[in-house]
Point group: C2
Chain length 407, copies 2
């Protein structure tokens, strides 16, 4: 497997478009479309929030139906959540606009939205946007990059990635894009992420691989502990690479799964690092936990704690806050078993050992904590399982962004 | 029942002392003692955090033993959490210092600490502090007030309250003090709160009343979602009022319980309003939920959400964030049933009705949200149960305080 340039248009047969539909933002693009002429098998995971956006409800119907998917239309600015029947009708109107332009069944068109909750989408602008995009779809890397920019809200950088790998001698590509960067605490899924591949694979197998990948990638990041109403991860596979269709588990499936984990993990890390107001990537790596779930829960609890995040912002080696977050995570453990280290490009330093604080060098700790990417390494010494979670620091800018996000 | 002046010394036979022991802070008091010559029945609730401070472990032994309690010694500056055997020995040394000074069994002396985690307490300073306080214990209101000031950390105001009520014609008093103001997300209990009463009551009944009161008071506040390692709530009752001992449920028990709920609720609200960096009290009142637990969970989720809290700081009527927080709370409900209002001294405004956002007056919303105390009123329209939770806004000052708290 090798990482290659591009995102959603990297795989064979996928096109993308974007436009400025003036839905809420001005002076920038705010709609994107991903399209494959060949029908796609699709897999998806969605927010566990009871309050599901209208688009999530629509996409869950589509991915559950077994029908092929042809396109995804995404808008930024308005989330189409808490919008009742009018909001759901906007999804159908968008899908029908794609049907009219590209001659694909509207039940093969997924939609996704991100932005302010509790505001109706302007359907006329959406359908005009679809019409414009349908006429300028392209399969260049640049077309994919432009799409990844159009779906940004408070993101400061666009997020895309692609990899190639061989299956039975056939070159297969998997690419994707995602966006953050607030209301990020995915549960069963993430904010918006769209993956495309030219692989041929059984739908159920693809869903299984995606659901597994999500657990250790998108579900292991947090920006602010708020699980969005709109979390959507879609994977479209059109089979254009010509590989022999993967119908069962084996080496080919494993190769695909490895690539899928890689793409999901890299997109997830990009989202964490670009969390609202974030100044650094904050990783918790838990090893030797009793169970995999324990390892995940502990790592997630540490990077989700406001107090831990504020300490990371302040380059403060206040390790007690990490232990506190582990303690209220719901996992049972003995504090006398735990060892805790700070780690970055500048070095690694043990600060807590078997229930007792160490008399560590504060200057060395500061040097480590001043790096852009900081890790807390936690050895539970109680088992063999490990997990990693990615978050970011809590900064003045997070408060600033969210005190006046709607205005 | 009437509210009276004072705190922990309001009830008959309770003394308090405080001193500057220079444990970590300089130029201020940092130790307090509460004492009753008459032995006290006691009840307590403690943090559910797996990582329990040494003092919590000590107090859990005492309150579980059935032995009477005589005193509580509290220090601020260092939390005595994650400190191993050395930390536990510091608790015993403190209790034995009280035994030496006041001639009470050391197993009748509770201790509590608040401050930085992962740092050892200076035992010599603790015992010197106990000696100093033992010689200047007083039962004046002022002595109680001084004690409530000595236990403050990032609190900006001290927190105390007292009430009197009649039981079978006998005047009984209940008073208390508490402190916040970060790492506040009590679970089974709260940060530090100490209640004293001259009531005579069966220990088991007292514990039952306290455990019930905590559920709707201290456990319904949150400042930052971080459940502390040190949460401790102790209630001491010395029987000095002379009431006929309450041995069973009935009108006398109900009167006591009502007073206990009132005192706990008022102290909890004071903690929420004085949350780290807070500029306003942010209340969520949920009505007509299916179950009491649902109502509590929904209210707590709303006031715990970083995004909701930042919106309150910005006076932004971004009600979608409240619905989002309700949606990921774990409670199952139909968004089509929900009505949502903003409410304060400046008025009440409906913004969401049966799944649909209303076209409300933004100026009126701003007027309501600019008040010092702001409420979100949520009608679930699915049952008959209600609950209230209290929090605060998320401000620049919260980040500032916690980025350099340890230094």
């Amino acid at each position: 497997m090798e990482q290659i340039k591009g995102g959603v248009t990297a795989a064979e047969g996928f096109f993308a478009g974007s436009c400025a539909a003036n839905i809420k933002y001005e002076g920038r693009t705010d709609m994107a479309m991903v399209y494959s002429k060949k029908p796609c098998e699709c897999a998806g995971t969605f927010t566990s929030n009871v309050v599901k956006a209208a688009c999530v409800q629509w996409d869950m119907q589509l991915t559950g139906s077994g029908d092929p998917l042809y396109a995804v239309v995404i808008n930024s600015g308005i989330a189409n959540a808490c919008t009742g029947k009018e909001g759901f009708d906007a999804c159908i109107a968008t899908a029908k606009a794609v049907e009219a332009e590209l001659n694909v069944p509207y039940k093969g068109v997924a939609v996704a939205s991100t932005g302010v909750i509790g505001m109706q989408l302007p359907v006329d602008k959406l359908t005009a946007g679809v019409k414009e995009m349908a006429h300028k779809l392209g399969d260049s890397i640049e077309a994919g990059t432009q799409a990844s920019k159009a779906i940004m809200t408070t993101d400061t950088v666009n997020k895309e990635i692609a990899v190639s790998f061989d299956i039975d001698g056939v070159r297969v590509t998997l690419g994707g894009m995602s966006k953050g960067s607030g209301m990020i605490h995915p549960n069963m899924c993430t904010m918006l992420a769209f993956l495309t591949s030219d692989i041929a694979i059984d739908k159920a197998l693809m869903q299984e691989a995606l659901s597994e990948a999500v657990k250790d990638t998108f579900n292991m990041i947090s920006v602010d502990g708020d699980t969005s109403t709109n979390d959507t991860l879609l994977l479209l596979a059109n089979g254009a690479s010509g590989n022999k269709k993967i119908e069962s588990k084996g080496p080919a499936y494993d190769t695909f799964k490895e690539a899928l984990f890689y793409v999901c993990r890299e997109l997830a890390k990009k989202m964490a690092k670009d969390g609202e107001g974030a100044s650094r990537l904050f990783t918790a790596h838990v090893v030797n936990a009793k169970t995999k779930d324990d390892a995940r829960t502990l790592a997630r609890s540490v990077i989700s704690s406001n107090l831990s995040k504020a300490a990371i912002f302040g380059c403060d080696a206040n390790f007690g806050r990490f232990l506190c977050a582990m303690g209220y995570s719901g996992v049972s453990f003995e504090q006398e078993d735990v060892e805790l280290f700070f780690e970055s490009a500048a070095g690694k330093l043990k600060v807590f050992e078997y229930g007792v604080p160490l008399d560590f060098d504060e200057d060395e700790a500061l040097k480590i904590l001043k790096e852009d990417e900081v890790k807390v390494f936690i050895d539970m010494n109680e088992g063999t399982q490990e997990a990693t979670a990615w978050g970011c620091d809590l900064t003045y800018d997070y408060v600033k962004i969210n005190a006046d996000y709607r205005s």
